[in-house]
C-alpha cells in the first residue's frame, strides 16, 4: 500500500491547525474581524467638540491652500479654523484627502499643536486630523509616526480634557493597528501604563470602548507577537473589561483575547492562567454576534493548544456551549464551532469520549450534511481527527451516527484537500473495521450509500495524492480477487545451488 496506510500512526497530531496567516484571495469580511484602523467620520453624530460650531458649509468648501495658510498663520483663531477645516475634510466618508493633507506639509504643524495645552480646542482638532490620517494605509500611518506624533499622543493621554485624551487613545489605536513594528514601538514608549491609568471606574462607556479597542490592537498581530511583559501588563485589565456589561467593550476585549491565544502554547497558557475560561464560555452563549464571534475564536484557539489546555476548556464547559453554536443561524459561527470541534477531536480518546457524552456528534453530522462548504470542510477535519485518534468503539459510534455516509457524499466536493482528508478518514474507519473483523460489512455499507462509486471515480483524479489514496483503498478493500496470500542463489538450468557462499565467522545480532 502507499504511505496512506501509516497515516493513523503518525504521532504528529493535527491539532496545530490554526487559522494561518495566509495569502487570501477573498474579500476580508467585516463580521469576522474588527477593523484594524478606524476613521472618525462625520456621520449623524454631533462632532465631538461641542463648544466649537461654525458654519459647516463654509469650512467644507475650504481648499487645501486656505487650510495651509490658516494653519501656518500665527493667529490662534485662524489656526483653529484651519485645523477644523482640515479635520472636516478628513472626516468625509468618501475619499478623504489624506494624501493631499500630508503632501501639503500640514503634519508637522498638527503634531506641534498637540502640545498646545493652552488651546484645548486646537489640540483636539489637530488630534482628530492626525487620527484620521493615521487611519489610512500604512504609508499614511508612517507619515504620522515619522512626524513625531507618538510621544505627543502618549502625553495627551493624561490630558484632563476627556475628549482630548479619548482622541489620543483613538490615534494610538490606529498606529498600533498598523502592524507589529509600530505596536512594539508604542509599547517601548510606555503606552500601556499611560492607557491603563485612564481605566477608571468612572470613565464613561464611550471612552472605555475606545480604550478597549486600542488595547486589543496592542495585543494584535504576530511575527513577532507582543512581548510577554506587555501582555502581562495588559491582561488583568482586559480580563476586567471582559466582565463589563457593554457589548461593544466585550466584543473588543474578546478580540484581544483571541489575538493573545492565536499563538504557541505558552501564549495560550498565559491567558488560561487568568482563569478567564468560564467567562469566555459564558460569552459563547450571548446573543450578539459581535461577542460570540471573538469568544468562539478565542476558544477555538485555546483548544488548538496542548491536550491539557484543551482539557481546561472542556472543564470550563465549552462542550455544552458548542452544540448550540453548531446550530447557529450564521454559517460563519457554525464554521468556527466546527473548527473548535475538529481540534478537540484531535485529542486523546478521553477527550473524544467527552465529545460523545456531551452530544456533539449529532450536530457534527448535521453540519457534514447541511452546512455550507466552509463548515463542511471543518467538520470533515473533525471526522478525520476523531477517526485517527479514537478507539475502535468510538469510531464505530461515529459511523452509527451517520458520519460515514455524510463524508462519502462529500467526496464530490470541489476541493482537493477536503477530498484527501475524507479519504484519510475512510481509511481510518477501515482500520477500525479490520480490528473488529468487520471489513466486509463496512465494504457493503460504503457501497450501499454510493461511496464505492465515488472512490472509484477518484481514481481518475488529477491530483496524485488523491488518486493514489483512492486507489489504495480500492486495492486494499474492494478488489475482488488478486488477494495475495502472500543473498543471491546460484542457479544452473535445472537447479538452484544450495549452500552458503562463504561462511561468516562471527554472527552478532
Amino acid at each position: 500500500m502507499s504511505k496512506f496506510k501509516n497515516k493513523g500512526k503518525e504521532p504528529t497530531k493535527m491539532r496545530d491547525r490554526r487559522i494561518a496567516e495566509c495569502v487570501e484571495l477573498r474579500k476580508a469580511h467585516r463580521v469576522e474581524s474588527i477593523l484594524k484602523k478606524r476613521n472618525i467620520s462625520l456621520g449623524d453624530e454631533e462632532p465631538l467638540s461641542p463648544e466649537y460650531n461654525t458654519d459647516n458649509a463654509q469650512v467644507i468648501t475650504a481648499t487645501i491652500q486656505e487650510i495651509v495658510a490658516n494653519v501656518n498663520s500665527d493667529c490662534p483663531e485662524k489656526q483653529r479654523q484651519g485645523c477644523q477645516a482640515a479635520r472636516k475634510l478628513l472626516s468625509r466618508e468618501r475619499n478623504p484627502p489624506l494624501k493631499e493633507i500630508v503632501e501639503a506639509g500640514l503634519l508637522t504643524r498638527f503634531v506641534e499643536f498637540l502640545g498646545r495645552h493652552d488651546d484645548p480646542t486646537l489640540q483636539f482638532e489637530a488630534a482628530w486630523s492626525l487620527t484620521n490620517v493615521a487611519s489610512g494605509t500604512s504609508w499614511h500611518t508612517q507619515q504620522v509616526v515619522e512626524h513625531g506624533a507618538v510621544p505627543a499622543f502618549i502625553a495627551l493621554l493624561a490630558s484632563p480634557m476627556l475628549n482630548i485624551s479619548e482622541q489620543a487613545v483613538w490615534a494610538l489605536g490606529n498606529i498600533a493597528g498598523d502592524g507589529p513594528s509600530y505596536r512594539d514601538s508604542l509599547i517601548d514608549c510606555g503606552v500601556i501604563p499611560a492607557l491603563l491609568a485612564r481605566l477608571t471606574p468612572d470613565a464613561p462607556v464611550g471612552y472605555l470602548r475606545n480604550l478597549t479597542w486600542t488595547l486589543s490592537n496592542l495585543c494584535r498581530n504576530k511575527n513577532p507577537f507582543p512581548r510577554f511583559s506587555a501582555v502581562q501588563q495588559m491582561l488583568p485589565s482586559i480580563i476586567q473589561l471582559l466582565h463589563h456589561s457593554d457589548k461593544s467593550i466585550l466584543s473588543d476585549a474578546c478580540w484581544a483575547i483571541s489575538y493573545l491565544t492565536d499563538g504557541p502554547n505558552e501564549r495560550i497558557d498565559v491567558v488560561i492562567k487568568t482563569g478567564i475560561l468560564p467567562r469566555l464560555v459564558e460569552l459563547l452563549g450571548f446573543e450578539e454576534l459581535a461577542v460570540v464571534t471573538p469568544a468562539l475564536r478565542s476558544i477555538g484557539n485555546i483548544v488548538s493548544g496542548s491536550d491539557l489546555q484543551t482539557q481546561a476548556a472542556i472543564d470550563a464547559g465549552v462542550l455544552s456551549a458548542l452544540p448550540q453554536l453548531m446550530r447557529h443561524p450564521k454559517s460563519s459561527v457554525q464554521k468556527e464551532a466546527a473548527w473548535a470541534v475538529s481540534n478537540i477531536a484531535a485529542g486523546p480518546c478521553q477527550q473524544i469520549q467527552q465529545l460523545i457524552t456531551c452530544g456533539l456528534l449529532a450536530p457534527l453530522v448535521d453540519l457534514l450534511r447541511n452546512g455550507d462548504f466552509k463548515t463542511q470542510r471543518e467538520a470533515v477535519w473533525a471526522v478525520t481527527n476523531y477517526t485517527s485518534g479514537g478507539t475502535v468503539d468510538q469510531v464505530v459510534h461515529l459511523v452509527k451516527c451517520g458520519a460515514l455516509e455524510a463524508i462519502l457524499n462529500l467526496l464530490q466536493v470541489k476541493d482537493t484537500k477536503t477530498v484527501l482528508v475524507i479519504l484519510d478518514a475512510i481509511n481510518n474507519i477501515f482500520l477500525a473495521a479490520e480490528k473488529l473483523g468487520e471489513v466486509d460489512k463496512l465494504c457493503l455499507l460504503v457501497e450501499e450509500v454510493g461511496g464505492l462509486d465515488r472512490i472509484e471515480f477518484l481514481q481518475n483524479h488529477e491530483n496524485n495524492a488523491v488518486y493514489r489514496a483512492a486507489q489504495a483503498l480500492i486495492e486494499k478493500y474492494f478488489s475482488e480477487d488478486g488477494e495475495d496470500q502472500c543473498l543471491t542463489t546460484e542457479a544452473t538450468d535445472a537447479n538452484f545451488v544450495f549452500g552458503a557462499s562463504e561462511v561468516q565467522k562471527r554472527f552478532d545480532f
Binding site: 484537500k417 538452484f496 552478532d508
Partner: protein, 983 residues
Amino acid sequence: MELNDANLQTLTEYLQKTLSPDPAVRRPAEKFLESVEGNQNYPILLLTVLEKSQDEVIRVCSAVTFKNYIKRNWRIVEDEPNKISDPDRTAIKANIVNLMLTSPEQIQKQLSDAISIIGREDFPQKWPDLLTEMVNRFQSGDFHIINGVLRTAHSLFKRYRHEFKSNELWSEIKLVLDTFAQPLTELFKATIDLCQTHATDVNALKVLFSSLTLISKLFYSLNFQDLPEFFEDNMETWMTNFHNLLTLDNKLLQTDDEEEAGLLELLKSQICDNAALYAQKYDEEFQPYLPRFVTAIWNLLVTTGQEVKYDLLVSNAIQFLASVCERPHYKHLFEDQNILTSICEKVIVPNMEFRSADEEAFEDNSEEYIIRDLEGSDIDTRRRAACDLVRGLCKFFEGPVTGIFSGYVNSMLTEYAKNPGVNWKHKDAAIYLVTSLASKAQTQKHGITQANELVNLSEFFVNHILVDLKSPNVNEFPVLKADAIKYVMTFRSQLPKEQLLEAVPLLVAHLQAESIVQHTYAAHALERLFTMRGANNTTLITPTEMAPFTEQLLNNLFKALAIPGSSENEYIMKAIMRSFSLLQEAIVPYIPTLIGQLTHKLLLVSKNPSKPHFNHYLFESLCLSIRITCKANPDTVGSFEEALFPVFTEILQNDVQEFVPYVFQVMSLLLEIHSSSIPSSYMALFPHLLQPVLWERTGNIPPLVRLLQAYLEKGAAAIASTAADKIPGLLGVFQKLIASKANDHQGFYLLNSIVEHMPPESITQYRKQIFILLFQRLQSSKTTKFVKSFLVFINLYGVKYGAIALQEIFDDIQPKQVALLLSKCVCQMFGMVVEKIVIPEVQKVSGQVEKKICAVGITKILTECPAMMDTEYTKLWTPLLQALIGLFELPEDDSIPDDEHFIDIEDTPGYQTAFSQLAFAGKKEHDPIGDAVSNPKILLAQSLHKLSTACPGRVPSMLSTSLPAEALQFLQGYLQAATVQLV
C-alpha cells in the same frame, strides 16, 4: 552549434528523416537529434526552422520535436546539470509567445503546450512578463491570437483545479488575478457584444463561441480554490452573462452531427459546471443568482433533444439540479407540486428512455452495454444523472415524487399494452423508472438492500415482470426480457423467496436466448441468487429445491457457452462455478460429461488466454468438480488426473504464463487427495519443478511452494529414496526464497515441510548449512516478517529434533571462544539467539498454529535442555519463561518498525502476472503438532513439574527470585489446571 544556414539545413534534413516510415532511416535520425540536443542554440535552431521553413510538414515536425525537447529538458533537477543553457532559456521565453500566436493552429497547439511546460517551472518568478505579454494581446482584436492566449492560459491555470492550497499556489493565483481578471472580464463582455454584432455570421460566431468556452473554463480555474475578491465584486457581470448564454439558442450554431457536441453545448456545459461550483462552494454569495440558474437549467433540459451530442450537457445540467435540490434551504424551489410534476415529466422521464443508441449497443456491443448497465460504469450517462435526480428529490419529496411517477408508470404500461410490438420501449422506461424510484441503497453482492416502501415491488413483479419471464418465445423483445431478468436480480433481497423460486426455472430457460445481453443476465441473475444466504447462513436456495432443474440448468449453462459471442463469457462461467458450489454432490452424476467439456474449454482458451475472469472461474469450476467428486469417492482422483494431465502438460510445456500458477494449484489439490504414496506421474515432474526459470516469476512462487509442500507431505520418503540427488536443488529453492524480503516466508513454509516430513537422516548433512544461511540473513537484513518465520522454524526444529539438538547445532556454528586472539569476545550462538531474538520478539508471532509451535518449542528449551540450567545460559531461563507466559497471555505485538512498512511492495519486481488464488483449491490449515499437544499451557505445567522433580528446589527458587508477580500468578493458574506442583 552555431545559428547558421548550414546547421539549419542539417537539422531540416534530420527532421525530415525522423518522419520516415523505415525504422532504419528514422531511428538513427532520432538518435542523432537526441545526441546534439545538449548543445547551445539547438532549441533556437528548431524554432528558426519552425518559423522559416517553407515546408509545412517540417514546421509541424519541428514544433513537435521542440515541445518534446522542452518536456525532457526544461526542468532543472537538483544536483543534476542544467540541460539548457541560460541564454537559450532567455531567448526561448522572449520569443515563444509571439511565435505561438502567429503560427497556424496545429503549431500553435504544440507551442502552447511547450509554454505551459515552461510556465509550470518558471512562472511567475522566472517569467514575470509572461502574463502581461499575453494580456496585451487581448487588445489585438484578432481572435485567432486571442484564442491562442486563452488556450495557453487555460493550460497554465487548470492546475488550480486540483492542487492543494498553499501559500505559494495562492500567491501565484493572486498575481494572476491582479493582472488577468480585469482584462478577462473586459474580453468576456466584448466577446459577448461581438456575438450580437456578428449574429448572422456563422464563421465569426464559431470563433467567438470557442473564445467564450475558453473564457468560461478560465473562470472555473480562477474561481476554484476560493472566491476571489475580484470575482465577488464582478459577480453581477459574470453571472448575468452566463445566465444569458445558458438561455441563448442560435440556430446557426446548431450542428448536424448527432454524436459530437457542438460549440453551444460545450459552452453551456461549462457554464453548468461554473454554476455548480458557485452553488457548492460560495453558496452565501451566490444565493441571489441561484434560483435564476435553476430555472434556466431546467428550461435548458426541457428544450434539449435526445441526441448523443447533448449527453454531457444534459448530464451536467441534471447533476446541477440534483445537487441543489437536496440542500435544505433550496427545498422551496422544488416544493410546488407543479414544479415537481414538470421536473418528473419533462426532465426525468425523457432522459430515462431507451434510445436508439442504447438499442444499437444492446445488439452490437453487448459487452460494453453490460459493463455500463450492470456494473455501474455509467457515471456520465443521462440515465444515471436522471436516477441521481430522482434520489435527490426523494430526500425531501419521496411521497409526492412516488405519486407522480406511479402515474407515469401506469400510463406508460397502458401505452405498452395497447401495442406491445410498437410501444415496448414504454415498458422499458416504466421498469427503469420503478427501479430508480425503489432503490435507496444497493450493492453488487446483495442488489438493492434498501427500498422505497411506497413502491410495491412484489406486486409489480407479479403483474409486469413475470409475464415477460414466462413468455414462451425467449427471443421476442429481448430488451424487455433483459429488463425483467435484471429486475429479479436487482430486487432479489426484497422479493419473497417463493417468487425467486418461481423465477429460477424461467431464468434457466432464458440461458438459451440468442441475445447475448439476455442470456448473460440470466446467468448472472442465477449466480447472484445462488449466493444468497438464508437462515443459519446456509444458501437461501437449497440443492433439494434445485433438484428438478439441475439437469436443465447444467445443460443450458454449457449450451450458452456455445452461443456465438459468448464462448468466453465470464458471467456464464461464474454461474457454472456457483451452480457446482451450490449443488454439491448433486452434480456428481454429471461430472464425467462436464469434466470433458471443461477440459476441452481449457484446451481452447489456453491457446490464447484473453479473459482473465473467465479463466479464473473455469479453474475454480475444475477444482469444485474434483473436490465434490473425490469427497464422495477419493479413488476417482485418478480419473481426473487422466483427464487433466494431458492439458496441463501442454500448458506447462508451452509455458502459458497466465495458467501455470493455476495448474500448480489444481495439481496440489489432486496430490493432497491421494491417501498414501505419491504416484509416479508426479515424481517424474518433480525435477522440473525445481527449475530456476519457474521461480523467477512471482506469480508462480506461492502455488509452487504449496505444490512442493504437497510433494513433501505425500512423498518425502520417495524423494529421500529415489530422488536424494534432488535434495540440494530443493534446498536451493529455499535458499533463493529466503534471500528475498518479499518471499522469505514462502522459503520458511518449504523449510518447515522439509523438517517435518523428510526422514531426518536424509537431511543431516545439510542442517548446519541451513542454519548458517538463516543467520546470514538475520545478520544482513533482519525484518519483522523474517524474524517471525525464523522463530516458528527454530521452535518446530526443537519440537521435531529435541531442544538439545537445537542448542548443539547453534553452538556448533559459533561456540564460545576464549578471546585471546580476537579483539572482542564472540558470543555463543544459542544464548545469543535466545537473548536477542526469542525473548524480545516472540510476542510478535501471529497465527494460532504458529503460536502453538513456539509455545511447545520454548517449553522444550526450558525443560529439556540441560544447558539452560547449568551453564551461563541459566540467566536466560526466567526471562524466557516470562516471554512464554507473555505469549500466552498478552495481546500480539503487531507493531512494525517504520522503515519496514513498504517492504512487501518494493520487493515485488515489476509487473508480472500476479498470483490469483483459487478459492476452491483452498488448503486446510496444517498443524504439525496436532493432537499431540492440545493445550500448551498444560504442557508447560507438566514439563516444569517433571523438571522440578529431576532437580528439586531449583525451579521454585528461580521463579521466586526473578519472575514478576503477575507472570507467576498466571503460571500458578496453569499448574492448578494441570493439577501438578513444583518441588
